[in-house]
């Protein structure tokens, strides 16, 4: 049977759509690929053991970026450590305890909107609230709190969604044998929401590790060693990268260092995400339903 003219036309339109979509996808992938390749090609030659374990040399063409690696690691660990419990418990309250009133709806809208606030605003807020008002000065603590505030909206929203996805039957089954609400949440809701909650923290790791604006006024320093306490300033990879790229005496000579730092940052974020994803996969397997 020969296809009719109309069918032929429809088929051709279908093919066109398909190829346009496919081409667009390739363009995106190509851009990401080019960026990654550029960083790897220009950054890899600079990377060696000394680069990963030593302090920067005098003009940032020699030495390493160890303090910045440590600083970024501390910033990620600390801010996630603060934001995760606070965010998860907020989400538990919102999804399990709070009644659906105009007030809780307003709170939810605020949280969602906070997620869209530019990071520099969080930076200024952190500088005003923690550095100046609470007199933490520029310190790890001020940076942790600022970054924690920045990622809280994402942690809360993803956690709340994860909690809501736990089937009603798990809750009712638990209550029906005489569990209190908190027992129900602890034993039969939170464990099953954990994989989803981890998704929120995976997104947050990349954000905390990569942001420059929120740490600029609150914690980051260019010339500093390893932190000695939570009131020390620290180096951090994005801020170091920013400074080395435009703010050192000989920018061109330091360019390989900037690329090296970029590569390390990407690998670090990737590594931490991978860790979280492995953990999530394990939890999913354990608490599958």
């Amino acid at each position: 049977m020969k296809p009719t003219a109309a069918a032929e036309k429809r088929r051709r339109r279908e093919m066109t759509c398909f190829w346009v979509l496919r081409a667009l996808t390739y363009v995106v992938v190509a851009f990401v690929g080019v960026v990654l390749l550029d960083i790897v090609v220009k950054g890899a030659p600079r990377i060696n053991w000394a680069f990963l374990t030593e302090k920067p040399g005098p003009d940032h063409t020699t030495g390493g970026i160890f303090p910045a690696i440590v600083g970024t690691f501390y910033l990620v660990a600390g801010s996630i450590g603060i934001a995760l419990p606070v965010g998860v418990f907020t989400a538990v309250y919102l999804s399990e305890y709070a009644k659906d009133t105009w007030f809780t709806r307003l709170v939810r809208i605020c949280i969602v909107n906070l997620a869209g606030v530019p990071s520099i605003v969080f930076g200024l807020f952190g500088a005003a609230a923690f550095v100046v008002y609470m007199k933490f000065d520029r310190s790890l603590l001020a940076g942790w709190l600022t970054l924690a505030f920045m990622i809280l909206p994402v942690v809360i929203t993803t956690s709340e969604e994860a909690l809501r996805a736990v089937p009603r039957g798990f809750r009712e089954g638990s209550l029906a044998v005489g569990a209190t609400k908190w027992q129900m949440i602890r034993t039969n809701v939170l464990p099953y929401a954990l994989p989803g909650i981890l998704t929120g923290s995976i997104l947050s790791v990349a954000r905390v590790a990569g942001e420059t604006a929120p740490i600029m006024f609150t914690v980051a320093a260019f010339y500093t060693g390893l932190p000695r306490s939570i009131f020390s300033q620290v180096q951090a990879l994005p801020y170091y990268l920013y400074t080395v790229a435009i703010n050192v005496p000989n920018v061109n000579a330091a360019r390989p260092t900037a690329y090296g730092a970029a590569l390390v940052l990407i690998v670090m974020v990737f590594g931490m995400n991978l860790l979280a994803m492995i953990l999530r996969a394990k939890l999913r397997k354990k608490y599958r339903w």
Binding site: K99, D100, P167, G169, F170, R171, E172, G173, S174, L175, A176, V177, G178, A179, T180, Q183, T187, N188, Y192, Y287, R288, W289
Partner: protein
């Protein structure tokens, strides 16, 4: 498996022949119960005595309030926003809506089995041990004993004993529902509420659940919501017919199915509507 089924059926016939349900003690006494979802009234002035160690079936068309009524008996409706009630539900002489009543203890005494079997994604053992653990039982030997006893009473032991460490989600639908019954039995309740426990099961699994219900009434007071008239006739001693939130008629199952007082009851059980 089939053996249990025939045994139950035989026993059922014997029972029909030898003993009429005499007048047992009242376990649950409901008086003038009105129930609301926000401003919508779901139950109208329901007054009803539920006898001890008997099976009472709640029947009626969808949305007639029978499930709502069932869920007032262990205050499961408390978990839904905007519910309120007037009237009283008295179990063993205590109004369960009294402010001094501990809901947690109430739900331990009044177990519930849901329409959609809801095993937790844990091992069989942990599913059955869930209730006792919630109530503070930590001793391994004691838990093992409770789990075994509950599974035996739920007719699941033979199938379950070699896979106590496996996930409950690997069980068949009928086994899952019996596991949920075992889970309800593990807290040693006095009353078991069942909300269409067999509606999603195949006939063989349904027969097993029905046999089980028949056994359970020796020790427990059972209240079961069902859409299936034959099932109500087979398993229950008493039947209550609800229509549009009103308790139309409540009597022995035999009376309801052979000589109902109300025209509406007759129409419903003979399948003229609903």
């Amino acid at each position: 498996m089939v053996e249990i089924s025939t045994r139950g059926a035989l026993r059922r016939q014997e029972e029909v022949r030898t003993e009429k349900p005499d007048t047992p003690l009242v376990k649950i006494s409901v008086k003038n119960l009105n129930f609301f979802y926000w401003k919508t009234q779901a139950l109208f002035n329901v007054t009803m005595d539920i006898p001890e160690r008997r099976v009472t079936a709640l029947v009626g068309p969808s949305g007639c309030g029978k499930s709502t009524f069932l869920r007032t008996l262990n205050r499961m409706n408390d978990t839904i926003d905007g519910t309120s009630h007037t009237g009283s539900v008295v179990i063993d002489g205590v109004d369960i809506y009294d402010r001094n009543v501990d809901v947690v203890e109430l739900r331990r005494r009044v177990g519930m089995v849901f329409q959609k079997s809801n095993p937790f994604p844990k091992t069989l053992f942990d599913n059955v041990a869930y209730g006792p653990r919630i109530h503070g039982v930590r001793d391994r030997a004691e838990l093992t004993e409770i789990v075994e006893g509950s599974l035996k009473r739920a007719y699941l032991w033979e199938e379950a004993k070699d896979r106590l460490r496996d996930s409950a989600l690997g069980l068949s639908g009928g086994q899952q529902q019996r596991l949920c019954i075992a889970r309800a039995l593990a807290t040693n309740p006095e009353i078991i509420l069942m909300d269409e426990p067999a509606s999603a099961l195949d006939p063989l699994s349904t027969a097993k659940i029905e046999d089980l219900i028949f056994e359970l009434k020796k020790e427990y007071t059972v209240v079961i919501v069902t859409h299936n008239m034959q099932q109500a006739a087979r398993v229950s001693d008493y039947t209550a017919f609800f229509f549009e939130g009103v308790l139309i008629e409540h009597d022995t199952t035999e009376k309801i199915f052979t000589d109902p007082r109300e025209k509406k009851t007759e129409d419903y059980i003979t399948g003229r509507f609903g």
